[in-house]
């Protein structure tokens, strides 16, 4: 019973982090059709920006939205420099991989130059521990578990209930038709990147209040987010969310029973088997589009 609750809490927490990361990746893939390998460093940069703002003496409730906004702006700028000029080129998928990888290396080394290699930590979202159903869990983790569904719900509502969200989904489904009805496709691409970067920053702040921050902290979450989007399918927002929690639980179970060393290997084995059976992911149809 205790083990089950422990696994449940751990899975829920990991799942929340992965969901926030993976949704941002999936958003870019569905709207623009490229993969942003700089997503991990966006997360890292978000955490560092938040750290810098707290160093300036800002209260944390102001730091959180401010750094998410700043990172959204950074995401837009990133899109404008390394992605937008390439749109329409025949080998865009491959070229964007290399430009975003190079951008990632640029940001990572830049962060190393600015903030140095010493580990830092953000203030937690909540202090202390609490007991729920006999499981000890830190308030920080609990806050993340509780906030994440609202963030995801907010994103879902934005995509489904607002005109702008509708426009984004339209671009994802059919770019040419969107151009024909007069949507500003370039601006929408920028918007997708901005939302994605904001979500990455949020994930970075979540992680930075719980683990030590370093310029390479984004690499592992990016990898996990990749697994999540492949597992869940890239063609929707809901698919990666389900997959994020599933992977979170899977990881919690594996590391409980098989140990930390074998968890990544098992995860990849699951990934490869999934792709062999259902190349389009577990929760998605074959079409590209936000649903």
């Amino acid at each position: 019973m205790d083990a089950a609750a422990q696994i449940f809490a751990g899975g829920l927490f990991q799942g929340s982090l992965y969901a926030v990361m993976a949704v941002g990746l999936a958003l870019i893939w569905t709207t623009i059709g490229v993969f942003n390998f700089a997503h991990g460093v966006l997360m890292m940069l978000g955490a560092y920006v938040a750290w810098q703002l707290t160093e300036f003496g800002l209260p944390f409730f102001a730091v959180l939205p401010l750094s998410v906004l700043l990172m959204a702006g950074f995401g837009w700028a990133l899109q404008a420099t390394v992605v937008r000029p390439l749109i329409g080129r025949p080998n865009i998928v491959l070229v964007v991989v290399i430009t975003t990888l190079a951008a990632a290396s640029l940001v990572e080394n830049g962060a190393l130059q600015i903030w140095g290699p010493r580990s830092k930590q953000l203030p937690a979202l909540g202090d202390g521990n609490t007991m729920i159903f006999g499981v000890g869990i830190s308030l920080h983790q609990l806050t993340i578990i509780l906030i994440t569904p609202f963030v995801l719900l907010g994103l879902w509502l934005f995509l489904h209930k607002t005109r702008l969200g509708l426009a984004l989904r339209a671009v994802a489904q059919n770019e040419d038709a969107s151009l024909l009805v007069g949507l500003n496709v370039r601006a929408l691409y920028g918007l997708a990147f901005a939302i994605s970067a904001g979500l990455a920053a949020l994930a970075g702040i979540f992680l930075g209040g719980y683990r030590f921050m370093s310029p390479v902290m984004g690499a592992d979450p990016l990898l996990k987010a990749l697994i999540v989007v492949v597992f869940g399918g890239l063609s929707s927002i809901t698919g990666p969310i389900f997959a994020a929690y599933l992977i979170g639980f899977f990881e919690a179970i594996c590391s409980y029973y098989f140990g930390l060393y074998w968890t990544p290997a098992l995860l990849f084995a699951v990934l490869i088997v999934t792709l062999m059976i259902r190349p389009q992911g577990m929760f998605s149809s074959k079409t590209r589009g936000l649903a």
Binding site: F35, L86, R89, N91, V93, L101, L106, N109, Q113, L271
Partner: protein
């Protein structure tokens, strides 16, 4: 999908001409050690050769095959560790282990091809990327054998009877590396000019049509990946023998990014482009050694700049320059300066 001008279709350049040019290129490299005598410069050249082998073989799967294999560096890493383990535990002769490592990498490539047979585009990137991470995790978790994060040290080096490879200012290693590069390049060029090469290109450019003409997608994909793995594995084994140690850094993203940028900077589907770009980037990177921590930043900016201006890489840039030079000569009579502007073809 790719710029058609860059695809070397069989029979475009006579093979005799190409062979003569290749011979000339390697002849220049053969005399280099007599000009460059200090061991540090030779070391840089040896590293450039290793990168050139890895990058040009990657060009086979990525450029010609159109298979976005992001696990290519894992094949290199498998070569590194295969050599280390074969010489240490099976006490295999180093030269035999060098060849055997190539075979091990080839088998690994066939293994990774199986899950991607049905996949396309981005999914291939993700699975092969996952494969690379899986191999790294396996190496890390089996630390009793592989040394884990500590890596392997005191790996058996190669030998030449009657010659001391350690105290010859890297003279011997230079020629071994150059020899592997020459074999690999000849193998790759012969392959892409052959019928198999033509069918690989056909699958990339028009899959439905190629399949309808009786080309097996699955078989050609296995052949492409396996062919690109052998010399990559040998290069990895040579690297292990040369450095005499192995670490999981070879599976890291930074090395992958550098080598991938060599392939793309050189221009895909040329083989030679990747080799030239490897030389340029390795020597450029070394010349910036004084910049220390700024080096990766400068390299990243440079990669982005080249990809934005010349998405078909340096070979595309060279073609554009040659073409506009040709136009310049043709236009000398009528003075229209705008017609001589270098411009990307699309």
């Amino acid at each position: 999908m790719f710029n058609r001008e860059n695809t070397a279709s069989p029979g475009r350049v006579r093979w005799q001409d190409e062979a003569a040019l290749m011979l000339l290129g390697f002849a220049v490299l053969v005399v280099l050690p007599f000009v460059v005598s200090d061991s540090y410069s030779r070391h840089i050249l040896i590293m450039a050769f290793i990168y050139a082998i890895v990058a040009s073989n990657w060009d086979l799967s990525l450029g010609y095959g159109g298979v976005f294999n992001f696990g290519h560096l894992a094949l290199f890493g498998i070569g590194v560790y295969a050599y280390g383990l074969l010489t240490k535990f099976l006490e295999l002769d180093p030269w035999l282990a060098l060849a055997a490592s190539g075979v091990v990498s080839t088998l690994a490539a066939i293994l990774v091809t199986l899950p991607i047979l049905r996949l396309k585009g981005i999914y291939i990137i993700l699975v092969t990327f996952g494969f690379a991470q899986l191999v790294m995790q396996l190496v890390l978790s089996q630390s009793d054998i592989t040394g884990g994060t500590q890596g392997m040290v005191r790996i058996e080096s190669l030998y030449i009877p009657g010659h001391n490879l350690i105290r010859d200012q890297k003279f011997g290693y230079f020629y071994i590396a150059l020899g592997i590069l020459a074999l690999s390049t000849i193998f790759l060029r012969v392959l892409v000019r052959s019928k198999i090469g033509a069918s690989i290109i056909a699958l990339r450019d028009n899959e439905e049509y190629a399949v309808s003409r009786g080309i097996s997608l699955a078989r050609q994909r296995v052949i492409t990946l396996a062919a690109s793995a052998f010399f990559t594995g040998v290069a990895g084994a040579f690297y292990a023998a040369y450095q005499r140690n192995a670490s999981v850094d070879v599976f890291g993203m930074s090395l992958s990014t550098i080598i991938l940028s060599m392939v793309l900077l050189g221009g895909t589907s040329t083989i030679y482009g990747a080799i030239v770009a490897s030389f340029v980037l390795t020597i450029f990177s070394e010349s910036m050694a004084d910049f220390g921590a700024w080096r990766p930043i400068i390299t990243a900016v440079l990669i982005i700049a080249v990809m934005l201006v010349y998405p078909s890489g340096l070979s595309g840039a060279a073609q554009t320059i040659f073409r506009s030079l040709g136009r310049l000569r043709a236009n000398e009579t009528d003075n229209r300066p705008d017609a001589t502007e270098p411009r990307t073809s699309r």
